[in-house]
């Protein structure tokens, strides 16, 4: 982590940009609050997906900020937790394993947000959410609207943008190649409209901007990724989009270059067209 922060510091000095959005994910074993409770699928009862003790969580954030201080790099944004509506990252999502039962995870997440606010340095901003793209409630995961509705208003209305994950297309199953993503549905309008409606429903004084904090395309093509970026670019509510890993991760293959780094996928062109946030919508690069 020290090496990464040092590299970012150098990039910031050389290029500008490269503002850090720090995202804790997984609970350190020393921070786990207790044994699994509530509704948890047997195979997913990972200790590291359990709610952390708040004091330990604050210690984790403090340690990260301390490391950044030592390196001398500024951390501008903190997201309190990664994909808090996904059972792979925070559990339990519900008290009982019944889909219509109320999700309890927004309340747990609210405790993390309040704790994170306590650890904010001057000038740091909370980026809420980083929600997994669950359009509808599931037994083991909270839907995006359900999650946002469950947030206390003081948490939902915290200053700063709201982060939502929205991947393009669907990964291939059982080793099969992914189907070509459809450029028409690539921008995940239905999901993002659901998020925006839920956020607006909280009645915050300031309208929340949306960051697509994780995206990428499974088929590695240019067309659908470009369509998504262009659509988000002309959407007044969406300010930023984050490619999930530059280097392809075989376990979650949405990277822009192959794992070997030898091949650059066509989806790179879609991102490159938006390099440096052009003032005008770039020509279609595909």
């Amino acid at each position: 982590m020290r090496g990464l922060l040092t590299a970012i510091k150098a990039r910031q000095a050389q290029d500008g940009g490269w503002k850090i959005l720090a995202v804790p994910y997984f609970t350190p074993l020393w921070a786990v609050a207790g044994p699994p409770i509530g509704c948890q699928k047997a195979r997913n009862r990972h200790a590291r997906a359990q709610m952390p003790r708040i004091a330990a969580y604050r210690r984790l954030l403090r340690a990260f900020n301390g490391l950044a201080d030592k390196v001398g790099v500024r951390v501008d944004y903190i997201t309190p937790w990664n994909e808090p509506n996904h059972p792979g990252f925070l559990q339990p999502q519900r008290a009982r394993c019944v889909a219509p039962s109320k999700a309890i995870v927004p309340r747990a997440y609210a405790r993390l947000v309040r704790a994170a606010r306590q650890e904010l340095r001057p000038g740091q901003t909370i980026v809420l959410g980083s929600l997994a793209g669950l359009q509808r409630p599931r037994v083991y995961g909270a839907g995006v609207a359900e999650f946002i509705r469950g947030l206390p208003r003081d948490v939902a209305c915290v200053d700063g943008p709201f982060a939502q994950h929205a991947y393009v297309g669907v990964r291939g199953r059982d080793g099969a190649a992914p189907r070509a993503a459809d450029p028409i549905s690539a921008a995940r309008h239905e999901l993002l409209d659901t998020v925006i409606r839920a956020l607006d429903g909280k009645g915050c004084a300031q309208r929340k901007a949306l960051w697509i904090a994780e995206t990428g395309t499974f088929d590695h093509r240019c067309d659908a990724m470009s369509a998504a970026l262009r659509s988000w670019s002309v959407n007044d509510r969406i300010d930023a989009a984050f490619q999930y890993t530059f280097r392809n991760d075989r376990r979650y293959p949405v990277g822009l270059v192959s794992s070997s780094l030898r091949d650059t996928f066509a989806s790179y062109r879609a991102w490159y067209a938006f390099a440096g946030s052009p003032r005008q919508l770039p020509s279609n690069p595909c």
Partner: protein
């Protein structure tokens, strides 16, 4: 792991300058990929595609503020032009990201960290692990 680059330092620097100017090339792949997903881009190709000047003439005006781009990437070598994998690093830098998303993985250690919450060597594995967990949870599109 990518193959190390054995180019002489001087040649490396010169070629790096060329790459930073916009080259994003690739060798042919040994891996099966969907047809159309592979691309070899040269300087002329990039210029033809309009990506060397993203806001080229003929571009449609955007109705809203520009879209800032960010990146999640925890390998510091991909951010350094003088790393052994500088060819890939050049492509990362060329994206001019406004933001970088840094994942702070929970350490597998049973003890609390003294100063650093994690170790660089663990981060890639932990990141993979995180996506594996997400994948095993059967979450489509998340």
């Amino acid at each position: 792991m990518p193959p190390p680059d054995h180019a002489a330092p001087g040649a490396t620097a010169r070629r790096r300058d060329t790459m930073i100017a916009g080259r994003a090339c690739t060798a042919s792949s040994r891996h099966d990929r969907p047809r159309g997903s592979r691309v070899t881009i040269g300087l002329a190709g990039l210029a033809l595609l309009g990506v060397l000047a993203p806001a080229a003439a003929g571009a449609a005006p955007a109705s809203g503020p520009p879209l800032a781009i960010g990146l999640t990437e925890n390998d510091p070598r991909l951010l350094m032009g003088d790393s052994p994998i500088w060819r890939a690093a050049v492509k990362v830098v060329a994206l001019k990201p406004a933001y970088i998303r840094v994942l702070i993985p929970g350490s597998a250690s049973s003890r609390a960290p003294a100063a650093s919450p994690t170790g660089t060597r663990r981060s890639a594995a932990a990141r993979s692990s995180s996506r594996a967990v997400a994948a095993s949870a059967g979450c489509a599109g998340c």
